[in-house]
Symmetry: C2
Amino acid sequence: MPAKNDLALSSALRISVMRLSRRLRAERSDTPLTLNQLSALATLDRHGALSLGELAAHERVQPPSMTRTVDCLQELDLITRTPHPTDRRQVVIAISETGIGLLTEDRRRRDAWLACRLRELSPAERDVLRDAAPILERWAQA
Amino acid sequence: MPAKNDLALSSALRISVMRLSRRLRAERSDTPLTLNQLSALATLDRHGALSLGELAAHERVQPPSMTRTVDCLQELDLITRTPHPTDRRQVVIAISETGIGLLTEDRRRRDAWLACRLRELSPAERDVLRDAAPILERWAQA
DNA sequence: GCAAGGTCGTTAGCTACGCTAAACATGAGG
DNA sequence: CCTCATGTTTAGCGTAGCTAACGACCTTGC
């Protein structure tokens, strides 16, 4: 398969991903959190406490952007900001009990749109996406 | 496979898609156009002239958002706004010669990041994405 | 005909969420 | 100490989505 097909494929993927992200952004549940805030919270849940810079790197975002996200999460008592034990420049962000509660409570409801779409697929199609997800994930982190 | 795996899958897909869209937005080429403007232009190229409302629907966007996108494209003479022949409320948007030129000229350069990533994949992985793309595309349009 | 109400596009104003540049605070080394 | 590097925040900007409201225009019912 020559490069021509790859170009068409990348174009299709690009447009689909952009539209799907818009779609997902609109399909958020009734929590007060945006998808980005939820994503940061989930990252803290999965990886444990992180410095602001590490969290920003995980979310592929510049530190100033993460500061604002964290500000909002702290406002809602979903995370805690504590000074780093040895390096007082750093700030350690950790998910709070309230945050964990919201996350587990929300995991049942969020992704409703995607989960619903998944159920509409054939098993073969689901398998395709199961294979594709790690590739997209790798790209998103690269 | 029970619903639990589907939930994990939808969660992984959601986060990947959101991060990838951020990534793609940052990796735009040196054209003066954003990815959304390019997407709208490509839609006009593929589907021919559309009313603003139709174009907005195609792009899964509300009409006011599309008005602004189209304003910008018209500023650059990439599209034309003409009154609808019979219904003077509507506006017909069509890609211009300049727009087609920019599109074909740009198709070679854009998607560089994704195309580059595609080349890094094994043939099997490319096939996975080739299968996955239509599914994502269907979702994005649904 | 013509007034009432619906549709299409635009304008105005809001929010979310990225970014860079620069300020501030702290740590490390000469 | 003084300087320079590093981590976070502040300030300001840009893009792109949304809803609400408005004007222009069609359609319909009287």
